[in-house]
């Protein structure tokens, strides 16, 4: 008996497969986070790393980048080359100055954001939130928020962090009296998975019970327009009114949906069910409201630099956009400041 036969015997005694079995696909289908092993995908504009050391390092490497020199050498004289280098050196020096300026500005802004966070605090009391909102002359009907899915290891990061942020936002918007909350997350990680959705539903109702007490919860529903799902909150009965609709959208609801609509329309046009003359802004608008949702009145981006991240283009026509520079968190104070700004602005179409 050879050694391998012995080991087979041991394995069959222990009721284990004797041959090596590939269970990669099985494992992958089980583990929820496997597709996210590389971390969430980020839109390219969000890459804005700017520590001073990095910029100085970059400056030096860039200055001695001889590939650039060579490319330039073919087209110009020595004098121009020297001039190019002096100018480029000045530019890089200015970049270093900007970095120093930005870091001072960032700490200054962070201080103010901290200050506002302390000044405006909701204390988990709907009454306080409503009082804050009632000082304003008008509020939006449809509020849209762009949230960043952060790295799992960060504070409020990963899917759990996102779920937390959405539940807090929904409690604030219900208290403020805004009936429609749209949440945009670039990757749409939350939408594809029913486990996450049930987690979200629990989290929202738990959070609402902290604000409103557990006896009578406000009525809410979660909508996923792309898959045409709807989830009702725990105490929903058919005759009660919905206090808040939470709609979850992602990048597939933007340009890809318009592409799908075009495909469908061209199919109908080929089979002569739709005449090209009938295609109008009103028709497309109607279809896109049905497929994605209404046009938001106010869009808040909870990130440091304004970046629309492929937000549905049709829907931001007259939307008021708000973001707080150098802010990374979902804060009540940001929401209140956004609402204050909204109440001060006037929309006059075309005028």
């Amino acid at each position: 008996m050879t050694s391998s036969k012995l080991s087979d015997h041991v394995r069959s005694e222990a009721k284990v497969n004797t041959s090596l079995k590939d269970i990669t696909s099985e494992i992958n289908s089980l583990s929820v986070d496997s597709s996210r092993s590389n971390g969430p995908e980020k839109p390219p504009n969000s890459i804005r790393n700017s520590s001073l050391v990095d910029v100085v390092k970059l400056t030096l490497t860039d200055l001695f980048n001889f590939a650039k020199l060579k490319a330039h050498q073919q087209t110009s004289s020595l004098l121009e080359l020297i001039q190019f280098y002096i100018y480029h050196f000045i530019l890089l020096f200015v970049f270093v100055l900007i970095t120093i300026y930005k870091s001072i500005q960032t700490s200054y802004r962070k201080f103010f954001i901290k200050f506002y966070t302390l000044t405006y605090y909701h204390n988990k009391s709907p009454q306080l939130i409503r009082d804050d909102v009632n000082k304003l002359s008008k509020i939006p009907k449809v509020l849209s928020c762009i949230l960043d899915l952060k790295d799992k290891d960060d504070e409020m990061g990963g899917i759990d962090g996102l779920i937390n942020q959405i539940s807090e936002l929904s409690a604030w918007t219900i208290s403020a009296g805004i009936p429609y909350l749209q949440i945009y997350e670039y990757n749409g990680k939350l939408l594809g998975n029913k486990q996450y959705l049930s987690k979200l539903n629990h989290s929202i109702s738990k959070n609402l019970s902290e604000y409103f007490g557990s006896s009578i919860l406000p009525n809410y529903s979660i909508k996923i327009p792309h898959q045409n799902f709807i989830i009702y909150g725990p105490n929903n009965n058919s005759n009660s009114e919905i206090d808040l609709t939470i709609s979850l959208i992602s990048r597939v609801d933007g340009k890809p949906t318009i592409v799908e609509l075009t495909k469908t329309m061209s199919e109908l046009a080929i089979s002569n069910e739709l005449s090209i003359r009938d295609i109008s802004i009103e028709l497309v608008d109607e279809e896109l409201i049905e497929l994605v949702g209404p046009e938001p009145d106010l869009l808040i981006y909870f990130g440091p630099n304004l970046d629309l991240q492929d937000f549905p283009p049709w829907h931001i026509r007259l939307t008021e956009i708000y973001w707080e520079p150098d802010n990374y968190d979902v804060n009540y104070s940001i929401l209140i400041r956004a609402l204050q700004k909204y109440s001060n602005c006037t929309v006059n179409v075309g005028k």
Partner: protein
């Protein structure tokens, strides 16, 4: 406290510069300084496509007790300056929001003023061999739903487009007149369906977001939008370039009124963009990509590591570790 939060305002150097430019002797120094700044900016990354919403002419007129018409004229002058900065820095496409379809809601008098002002200004920069656009070889394009334009003005505009069509440089001025993105998307959908019917596009499955963008009024040869500037402090896009501006482009909301938007305001935006783009390109090159299109290429870091030291193991025989 509001000011502390605003990154939408331009540098205060701007106002100092405005005061200085009133001294006659300094104009020579200033033009030298401008050339120098543009030369410096030229050595960094430069945006290819800038779009501007020129807002604030009317408020400027009101603040300075001018007639409405003079406000618009001041705006047109500011535009020529800004265009000059952009094209000298090396920007290829500048798109301006001259007139929205919604602007037809304004009084007829003002609409007529705007139309004739636009026609006169465009004529002025393209009429003669040595006028601005033709001297600098700039192509002027009218972007938008031309069916709204009265025929006499349309004829003039088309002749301007015609005379500048064969410009040898890549510099293009896109005048959006009368334009809204929603109208543009519908226009694109219609022309795609026409093309599917004609067989120009083989099947409906070929339709993607690139084909939609190619069928816009802008046409397929327009570079992606890098910066969108809106002056006078409104943080709304007002139906302008919604499709183009919502991915990988910088949106700048500036508090200055458009006629006061001058050299320094423009160059500080260009500098800021250049700064962030340099950082972004650097971050991408660390990730192993030359630009954002190459991000899909994944490099095998393990295989690139230097060779490890030899093994010293208690497993004397060759043991199957796999």
């Amino acid at each position: 406290m509001q000011g502390a939060f605003d990154n939408r305002d331009t540098f205060s150097i701007n106002s100092i510069f405005n005061v200085l430019s009133n001294f006659p002797l300094l104009t020579y120094v200033i033009s030298f300084l401008q050339d120098f700044i543009i030369g410096v900016l030229n050595t960094g990354p430069i945006p290819k496509h800038i779009a501007i919403i020129m807002d604030g002419n009317r408020r400027y007129a009101k603040q300075n007790n001018l007639a409405l018409k003079d406000g618009h004229t001041a705006g047109a002058e500011a535009l020529v300056n800004v265009l000059d900065v952009c094209f000298r820095t090396g920007v290829e496409h500048v798109t301006i929001y001259a007139f929205s379809i919604e602007n037809f809601n304004r009084s007829k008098e003002e609409v007529d003023t705007l139309f004739s002002l636009l026609r006169d200004k465009l004529k002025m920069i393209s009429e003669h061999e040595d006028s601005y656009a033709r001297f600098n070889k700039i192509r002027v394009r009218i972007i938008g739903n031309k069916s709204y334009i009265p025929t006499d003005i349309l004829q003039d505009l088309e002749s301007i487009e015609e005379t500048t069509k064969n410009a040898t440089s890549k510099k293009t001025l896109n005048v959006c007149f009368p334009y809204t993105t929603r109208d543009e998307i519908v226009y694109s959908i219609k022309s795609i369906i026409n093309k599917v019917n004609n067989g120009e596009i083989e099947s409906k499955d070929k339709i993607d977001s690139k084909i939609i963008a190619d069928n816009f009024y802008f046409g397929p040869d327009t570079p992606p939008l890098d910066i969108l500037i809106r002056t006078s402090g409104h943080t709304r896009l007002s139906d302008f370039l919604l499709w183009q501006s919502n991915y990988n482009s910088t949106i700048e909301f500036v508090d200055t009124l458009w006629p006061e938007f001058k050299f320094f305001a423009m160059t500080s935006i260009l500098l800021k963009w250049s700064y962030y783009r340099t950082l972004q390109l650097e971050a991408l090159s660390i990730m192993g990509a030359k630009n954002e299109d190459d991000l899909d290429i994944k490099i095998n870091l393990l295989k690139q590591l230097p060779k490890h030291p030899p093994y010293a193991s208690v497993n004397s025989r060759q043991v199957r570790l796999g």
